[in-house]
Symmetry: C2
Subunit: 364 residues, 2 copies
């Protein structure tokens, strides 16, 4: 097992990463001062519940915890105020009090939703994360929790740090292949932001990662969480530096906004977005090899690197203009300046972005 | 104009209290670094909008601010996640961004609701309070913001401190008489907690306060906010001391829970609750004169000091048992030990409370 500290002063917390560590959940809760007196609430989704809810409940009850649970429908739709309200009904009926904790058992959807419940229930109770996707390495660092509004994603939320994160590699084995790939997209992204060595390691170990090799995953999640933790520690409330984490997300979010149902997963859209950012980089005068390398590596993970031809460029551009990252009308872009290095460029002309979007659609 | 500082380290803020100071709203925003670039959102209710929304909007627009507004129905029902969602729709459509501010123009309902919107919108934007009721002196200090769940009041919320509070005495002149009286109930409560001199002053100036005399109100709000600020500064997140503010609220909340529609306002229920706490105090061995004084003073403000006879004692008791202040089954009560002094007594037998409830119903 590895342990990584997310350094946030008073609100610092550890991430435990290892295979089979879920078995130690009750002991870990106790170690973190979460006792058996007040009931716990496990929030999860139907897919995850099928594999792990009984196990988690039994582990906790065996140690004397009272455990309520709220099982939501899988998918982004569950990140809503109305699902939040239903979860709070469960919490109230189970008698959760100020000393209770909310446990998120699942991917980023469950983490964001349960985290916002924990942030808001009685104005804040303790929160524990048990991420069960690779992408959730991202949501397990930084304390950003949120639900969606029908007009905008993640627009209703809080900063609420967990007590600890327990990342059991074993829970990843049941992930569908496509969810594995998109998680790896965000994981490699951490390397593209600030760790060339990690990008090279991912490049060399792509097949082990895709095969969910335990040692490889443990290493990659440790490094990936570490990059995010480093950025977040330096900039907890998103002053500036934290923006680098959005590499690939400007174009990526716009693609998600215009994509049809299930056409592009988040990590897939981000893969295309990272290629786009690298192409912009070339236009800004950086070596074109950055874009070539980025594309080659992402292809290895079976990730898309082109925008499907039927996507409308105008729609993509207008989705981008509504993105909250465009503070007061300017186009801010995170662009790589080398593999493992990015800059925040606040002056990217929107015509250049349009040109890149068209190129991403054109070539095969 | 008086200025009171709520001392919370980094999150400290001033409360400005005075007659006519609303006219300086735009300048005060500017002074606090809230500029004209990002749109503002004014949240208010229909009653308050009728009197002051046009004025506030014109004042702001005259100084170049763009102002959106959300006008909710008056009353506790508006403190809900669904009304919150509607307000966020307005915010998104008006283009509020991270640099925007949400302005609460109204009583405690509007303050709590708008405050939770501000706490959650894009994970937190700036918040300004313009309280228009006397009771809102309470909600303007401490940063507690929340909406209700159908099973429990104020159970979904956050701590979110305002940038400043602008308390214009002139806006209180349009208050209905009953709302004035219940506001004064909570204001005198601040004295009962820790300021004997203020209680005596209120006693001597009851008729001026009831007549909404500006100088009297300015003084009373200054002292009342000051008491709350003192308690809150010492205990921002409700560790222990802050509980003293709940004098009268244990019985009061239970009465509200069993009361029919509009039968008892909050401040009225709290007045009865304060008498109840004083009677408990006598049972605990303190001088019975505390209860007599408490009752005499509250009567001067035209406040109820007895439980209406048709209220069911069992229902009141069971509502009290569900109150979140009863941590792990024990009955915690705030009881006066003198006029202007209270203690937190964690060991009050529930039979004693029942006896007091019966007495409060019995006598006239
Ligand atoms: N808070 C943050 O900082 C942050 C960062 C990145 C992403 N996010 C959020 O994370 C969400 C995406 O996360 P995600 O990709 O983990 O999505 P997800 O939670 O929807 O999980 C993806 C799918 O995998 C299923 N699943 C999860 N774990 C499984 C397991 N172990 N076995 C089998 N199936 C499993 C889920 O039911 C779902 O169908 C988005 O809502 C995004 O906004 C948040
Ligand atoms: N956050 C806190 O710390 C805190 C503390 C105490 C109370 N509260 C909350 O405050 C709320 C009660 O506050 P309230 O008593 O101010 O209630 P309120 O906001 O409902 O106002 C009472 C009534 O007066 C009307 N009104 C308000 N200002 C007016 C004006 N200037 N002229 C004419 N009519 C006006 C309102 O429309 C309403 O009908 C409760 O929801 C309570 O939970 C919060
Ligand atoms: Zn992402
Ligand atoms: Zn009150």
């Amino acid at each position: 097992m590895r342990e990584l500290k997310v350094d946030l002063g008073e609100r610092s917390y550890p991430i435990y990463i290892g295979e089979g560590i879920l078995d130690g959940l009750a002991a870990t809760l106790a170690k973190h001062g979460i006792g058996v007196k007040s009931p716990l609430l496990v929030v999860t989704d139907e897919n995850v519940a099928k594999h792990y809810l009984t196990k988690v409940t039994e582990l906790l009850e065996a140690d004397g915890y009272r455990v309520a649970n709220a099982v939501v429908a899988p998918g982004e739709k569950s990140k809503s105020l109305s699902v939040m309200e239903e979860i709070i009904t469960v919490a109230l009926e189970a008698g959760l009090d100020r000393n209770s904790a909310v446990i998120a058992l699942g991917g980023g959807v469950v983490g964001d939703l349960a985290g916002f419940v924990a942030a808001s229930y009685m104005r804040g109770v303790r929160f524990v994360q048990i991420p069960t996707t690779i992408l959730a390495h991202d949501s397990s660092v930084g304390g950003k929790v949120a639900v969606n509004h029908r007009l905008a994603k993640n627009v209703i939320g809080a900063f609420h740090q967990p007590e600890f994160v327990l990342y059991d590699i074993a829970t990843l084995k049941s992930l569908p292949d496509r969810v594995v790939r998109e998680g790896l997209s965000e994981l490699v992204k951490e390397g593209f932001i600030m760790d060339r060595e990690f990008v090279e390691w991912c490049d060399a170990n792509a097949s082990r990662l895709l095969a969910l090799d335990s040692a490889a995953l443990e290493h990659a999640l440790y490094i990936g969480c570490g990059v995010k933790a480093k950025v977040v520690s330096a900039d907890e409330k998103e002053g500036g530096l934290r923006a680098v984490l959005n590499l690939g997300h400007t174009i990526g979010h716009a693609l998600e906004a215009v994509a049809g149902y299930d056409e592009l997963h988040h990590g897939e859209a981000i893969a295309i977005g990272m290629v786009g950012a690298a192409l912009l980089s070339a236009k800004l005068g950086n070596p074109p090899s950055i874009a070539e390398e980025t594309e080659r590596i992402l292809r290895q993970f079976g990730l898309p690197v082109r925008i499907p031809a039927h996507f409308d460029t105008d729609a993509i551009m207008s989705a981008m203009m509504h993105d909250k990252k465009f503070k007061e009308g300017k186009m801010v872009f995170i662009v790589p300046t080398a593999i493992g290095q990015v800059e925040i460029n606040p002056n990217v002309p929107s015509e250049w972005v349009r040109e890149i979007v068209d190129r991403l659609k054109g070539e095969a």
